[in-house]
């Protein structure tokens, strides 16, 4: 949901906020796969999201993110015409690469209207083929993803990251069977599903030789679609995808936690816990505490330096019920701000993090964190 606004802002137009009532998310709509991994043109907006980490010989050297946003024609359905398919959407691709060795992040986004012969978004399965990004699920438990990476100095073709990933756990449906509430109103919701743990190999092409050409990768996949935008008093959001290292891969857990900050109300929060066996549970009572402050030299935005998450331990999680588990999420490096060069696009922070146990101080996992609404003048989409 939040990303709709970001998208609207990205293209510099309030006008992309739908004026037509596209089909809202419904609690009674059951998600069916692989169909619901595909595009939903009756929803106003939709996105597919991959974040993850690249390792070579057990050493994590980079984080990556690849996102594709789709937004339906704001004024309602449009017939096909010429090269334009029916209900042609506005597509925006965002790609980022965080280099842990140099402490530098490079990112780029590009956008266009769907055109026959240029882009393809399948509605029956995950099958995305647009300039600079290709994604598909060759089987029910595997992903094939390749996308263009920004690199300076620029070149054409751009460097490419290709990933072959296998799902480690079944698909997770957030909220009520994938109906994920994003705000107080009944329709302020989306259909939200994830693969919280993907693992496989990567191939890196076109990058300087200091980077390995192949290695292993882990990833997290999100897919969300809906039609309702948020209230005007939101100021930003903080969104976490946390993968904890278990004693072994089989014992690993994941958390998806987000909060939408509001100027007038308590932040709207939701969290999902995925246990080692892949069972997902919604948890309530999660507390998020920002720590310290990092001032971006570029945007002068003041971001929390790190976060302490207090998570009530549910019966199904490891540890005893009633206990509170405290995790610290801290960036691999601070300079992972996606600085906008576009006056209408918000500057925000999205990057690779490490997760520590607050009590022991030990690293217990990794995460991707998105923080918006901190840089001056970049209150997203409002």
């Amino acid at each position: 949901m939040n990303r709709t606004r970001q998208l609207a802002a990205a293209v510099g137009l309030q006008l992309l906020q739908p004026t037509y009532n596209w089909e809202p998310a419904r609690p009674d709509r059951a998600l069916e796969f692989p169909r619901d991994h595909g595009a939903h043109r009756k929803a106003a907006y939709e996105w597919w999201y991959w974040t993850g980490f690249l390792s070579e010989k057990e050493k994590e050297f980079a984080g990556f993110q690849a996102t594709i946003f789709r937004i339906s024609p704001p004024a309602g359905p449009r017939p096909a015409h010429g090269r334009r398919p029916e209900n042609a959407s506005w597509i925006m691709v965002h790609a980022g690469f965080s280099d842990f060795t140099t402490g530098k992040m490079q990112h780029r986004s590009w956008s266009f209207q769907e055109r026959i012969g240029v882009s393809k978004l399948d509605e029956s399965q995950l099958m995305i083929d647009v300039p600079g990004l290709k994604a598909s699920m060759p089987s029910a438990d595997s992903f094939s993803l390749e996308f263009a990476l920004p690199a300076n100095p620029g070149s054409h073709p751009p460097p490419k990251l290709a990933l072959k990933l296998t799902t480690q756990k079944p698909v997770v449906l957030h909220g009520e069977n994938g109906f994920s509430q994003k705000g107080p109103c009944a329709t302020c919701a989306s259909h939200y599903s994830s693969f919280t743990r993907l693992a496989g190999n990567f191939q890196l092409a076109g990058m300087p030789s200091i980077y390995p050409a192949t290695g292993t990768a882990t990833s997290w996949f999100d897919h969300e679609f809906g039609s309702q935008t948020l209230d005007g008093d939101q100021t930003g959001w903080d969104w976490f995808s946390i993968q904890l290292d278990g004693p072994s891969e089989e014992f690993s857990e994941e958390f998806m936690i987000f909060q939408v900050r509001s100027s007038s109300q308590k932040p709207w929060r939701h969290a999902t816990h995925v246990d080692a066996r892949g069972r997902a549970t919604s948890i309530t009572g999660v507390e998020l505490k920002p720590e310290g402050e990092w001032v971006s030299p570029a945007s002068h935005g003041r971001y929390p330096q790190s976060w302490v998450l207090s998570i009530p331990v549910a019966s199904s999680t490891s540890g005893s019920p009633g206990q509170i588990r405290e995790l610290r999420v801290a960036p691999r490096f601070h300079a992972q701000e996606a600085l906008s060069s576009h006056p209408a696009m918000p500057t925000y922070w999205e990057g690779a993090c490490q997760v520590f146990d607050v009590q022991t101080g030990k690293r217990v996992g990794r995460a991707y964190l998105e923080m918006t609404g901190y840089a001056p003048g970049s209150r997203p989409g409002i």
């Binding site: 137009l13 006008l15 090269r83 334009r84 042609a88 506005w90 590009w110 209207q113 240029v118 054409h156």
Partner: protein, 843 residues
């Protein structure tokens, strides 16, 4: 220097014409350049012929992941956006349809500009949104713009494709990426160099800048004069004080120190006030001028930041130097005189003796000046213009001759003043002197005086020459221009084809459709095919390739029931008795005759009967035409020049038929009615034509004309004001210099009223002399602008202004002179007013 401004104004006109082509582009550059994402490198391509294909655009899109942003644009004028049933409404305007690909606006199209909101319900496709973004409309929010998704349009390809590279990518890398895109386009794409475009725009504003800087230079000079006069005036007023100080025994050094430190204080205070006032004035001028430039041409003209430090430091520094130096010089001559003489006549007497030698030499100098400037002016029409790079004709000697008018004004000022006084004296002979004592005294005094208010007269004359000359030229130009417009657009309706035929660059209505239109609608038409080529003439051997020219193939220069749209003008080589229609008839009946526009004829020094060769015609490949010039016609549409030829012969050689432009004689039916009639009976043809009213076109042309000269007018008036101020201070200064004389008359029994009358009479002489001289110089200036500068720069004949224009100019000049006279009297009176200085003098 005042005249240099006049010439700069002509350069403005010149470059505005040149920049005409780039205006459409700059309009639609805005969405990208405004995005801020593309501060980096950018390229624009157009098709060699027709349009760039959508495949080319798709090719560009594949570069997006490398940091490229692509924009495809197609711009058309159309009325096709209106519902069929609404089309009959006359008020529905023609809109500028902009089909865009690669912009977020695609998904929310159609969008309309605010000016179209009142017509919202008549659109065939309901607009989704209104865009209230002046950047998108190039600042022209009044215009009717409809933004549509290119994929919704039936335009097929794109007029142009623009690719811009992320600013984070280095220039070299970006260039490499753009080269790759260009390679993929193949031979069909023609790069429009953004640098060249930028250059063109820079040139456009350059002449405005030149204009402004010449105005600036002029104000510096006039201000310098002003400051010198003010300093002199200050010193004159200090004379009694200095006298007293010297009599009381103060040393020269003491007095110099005292008075100079006072002057420094005054100067510093003046600087502060001057900076504030100057900046405000500069803002006001720039605002006005840039408003016009933006409306007419480039929406983002003059947006750059300018440092004000240098002009401020420069101006105040120069001002201080001039003021203090002249104060110092005046003061030195004051204290050099013996104390006893200071308040006495002796001082003036000594000045007079020094003058005497100068006077005799002065007369010789003046006569030489007059002779020189008259000689320059006389030969000016025969000196050819200089051809600059870009084939521009620069009337260098014409500008020089304009300078000669200034010399003339200064040389003749004393004579003009003498003659004016002589004439005025006729009204006050001895017998009537007692009835008009002020005039009697002033005229006699002025006749005897060895030093007349020459500078004042010359300043006024120069200012008036500029104002009168330019306004007369503009008036004459306006007359000629409107007459030409009226002649060229006798037809009620102008129809422009919208559809490009295969492989052609220019939209064309084919011959069959044209015939069908004529027959079905029962109308007469002027159907023109347009082209471009090069022409070689016997008089112009300098260029082997020939000179670029526009070609118009016309089917009927003599419509049987209507006046001809062409007007031949008398030209060397033509039998004087041959009337317009006969030349045109001869031209129509022969395949080997050309008509040349005046601009072309002048550029190539063509004579009637000359054999010329027309080659390099775009539509005709290697074919060449050879023909004789039958006559020369008036044309103000292009300074490149037109060659008219018979359509029959053009059609035979090129195989093209039909019209690129069509004028329709509808027998009184107006454009909207005709358009809807065509829609009803020939819907297929109607959709291929943009039918407009001739009157609208004429109005637009006249509007552009007026807008262009508004700036000229503004600058001229500013010059007049500056000149006026300089004149007033000069008058005041010379009045102050004659204080002893006023004192004598006062002692004798002149009341203050009488003294004021004397002042008024004195100033009147200067002003009348300046007025007379100014009008004469203005006439010469108008002549120079019309006959030399304009003709050489643009090749256009302009009628000399009519009687009513002359009357208006004279009236304006008289009003201007009257205002200056009043201001001069007040200023003089103020310097002479009863006060301390009188008392001191008396003791």
């Amino acid at each position: 220097m005042l005249l240099a401004m006049g010439s700069a104004n002509l350069r403005v006109l010149d470059s505005l014409k040149e920049a005409d082509g780039s205006s459409k582009r700059s309009l639609w550059n805005s969405p990208t350049s405004q995005s801020g994402e593309t501060g980096g490198t950018r390229r624009i391509w157009r098709a060699r012929r027709g349009q760039l294909t959508t495949a080319a655009f798709d090719h560009c899109l594949t570069f997006m992941p490398s940091g490229v942003r692509c924009l495809g644009l197609t711009v058309r004028q159309t009325r096709d956006v209106w519902r069929e049933d609404a089309k009959k409404r006359n008020a529905l305007p023609t809109v500028t349809l902009v089909a865009v690909a690669g912009s977020p606006f695609e998904v929310i199209s159609p969008m309309i500009s605010p000016a179209l909101v009142p017509f919202k319900s008549y659109f065939r496709h309901a607009p989704v949104a209104t865009f209230n973004d002046p950047d998108l409309t190039g600042g022209r929010s009044q215009d009717h713009h409809v933004l549509i998704d290119h994929d919704s349009s039936s335009f097929g390809g794109h007029d142009s494709i623009e690719a811009s590279v992320d600013r984070e990518i280095s220039f070299d890398a970006a260039e490499k990426i753009l080269d790759q895109i260009e390679d993929g386009f193949g031979d069909e794409a023609l790069r429009v160099d953004p640098d060249a475009e930028f250059e063109a725009r820079k040139n456009l504003t350059a002449s405005y800048r030149l204009n402004l800087s010449i105005l600036g230079l002029m104000s510096v000079l006039v201000s310098g004069l002003l400051l010198r006069n003010t300093a002199a005036l200050q010193m004159m007023l200090r004379r009694p004080v200095v006298a007293v100080l010297r009599q009381t025994g103060a040393s020269r050094r003491t007095i110099m120190g005292l008075v100079l430190s006072e002057q420094i204080l005054i100067a510093v205070a003046g600087c502060a006030a001057g900076i504030v006032g100057g900046l405000l004035l500069e803002q006001a001028i720039s605002h006005q001028v840039m408003k016009t430039v933006r409306v007419l041409y480039t929406p983002d003209a003059g947006n750059g930041q300018r440092s004000l430090l240098i002009p401020i430091v420069g101006a105040t520094g120069a001002g201080l130097v001039v003021y203090l130096a002249s104060s110092f010089a005046m003061l030195r001559s004051l204290v050099a005189v013996q104390p006893r003489d200071l308040a006495a006549r002796e001082f003036e007497g000594r000045e007079r003796q020094a003058d005497a030698g100068r006077v005799a030499k002065g007369w010789r100098m003046r006569l030489a000046g007059i002779a020189l400037s008259v000689a320059i002016l006389l030969i000016a029409p025969t000196v050819p213009p200089v051809t600059s790079q870009g084939n521009l004709q620069v009337p260098l000697f014409g500008y020089f001759a304009a300078m000669a008018i200034v010399i003339l004004a200064f040389s003749a000022a004393s004579g003009a003043s003498y003659i004016t006084t002589r004439l005025l004296r006729i009204f006050v002979p001895e017998a009537r002197a007692h009835r008009f004592p002020a005039l009697a005294i002033s005229t006699r005094r002025n006749l005897h005086a060895r030093r007349r208010p020459e500078a004042a007269v010359a300043t006024l004359a120069t200012g008036l020459a500029l104002v009168t000359g330019i306004s007369l030229m503009v008036a004459g130009f306006r007359n000629s221009f409107t007459a030409w417009l009226a002649q060229s657009f006798t037809a009620e309706v102008v129809a422009l084809p919208l559809i490009t035929q295969d492989g052609e660059f220019r939209p064309r209505l084919d011959g069959d459709s044209h015939n069908l239109l004529r027959k079905t609608m029962q109308v007469d038409t002027d159907c023109v095919l347009l082209d471009e080529g090069t022409v070689r003439a016997p008089g112009n051997q300098s260029s082997l390739k020939g000179v670029p020219v526009r070609v118009a193939a016309i089917d009927d220069a003599l419509p049987p029931d209507y006046p001809t749209p062409l007007e031949t003008i008398p030209w060397p080589g033509t039998r004087t008795s041959v009337p317009n229609n006969e030349i045109l008839r001869e031209f129509m009946n022969s395949e080997d005759l050309f008509l040349a526009s005046e601009a072309l004829a002048r550029k190539l020094k063509l004579k009637t009967g000359d054999q010329v060769q027309l080659g390099g015609i775009k539509s005709a490949g290697t074919h060449n035409f050879t023909g004789r010039i039958a006559g020369v016609v008036r044309d103000y549409s292009s300074e490149l020049g037109y060659l008219f030829l018979s359509k029959k012969s053009y059609e035979t050689r090129t195989g093209l038929n039909g019209c690129h432009s069509l004028r329709v004689y509808t027998a009184g039916v107006n454009a909207p009615a005709f358009a809807s009639a065509v829609s009803n009976r020939l819907p297929e043809i109607a959709s291929r034509l943009n039918i407009q009213s001739s009157d609208d076109l004429k109005k637009m042309a006249t509007g552009t004309f007026e807008q262009t000269f508004k700036v000229t007018g503004l600058l001229t008036i500013l010059a007049a004001i500056l000149g006026g101020v300089a004149l007033i201070v000069q008058i005041a200064q010379s009045s102050a210099g004659r204080r002893l004389e006023w004192l004598a008359l006062r002692r004798l029994g002149s009341s203050w009223t009488r003294l004021t009358q004397l002042l008024a009479a004195d100033v009147l002489i200067s002003v009348l002399a300046g007025l007379a001289l100014g009008l004469v110089c203005g006439g010469i200036m108008a002549w120079l602008l019309v006959v030399v500068i304009n003709r050489q720069a643009f090749g256009w004949s302009i009628a000399m202004p009519g009687i009513s224009d002359l009357a208006t100019a004279v009236l304006f000049a008289v009003a201007y002179a009257a205002a200056l006279w009043l201001a001069g009297v007040i200023m003089s009176w103020w310097t002479m007013r009863p006060g301390k200085a009188w008392e001191v003098l008396r003791e």
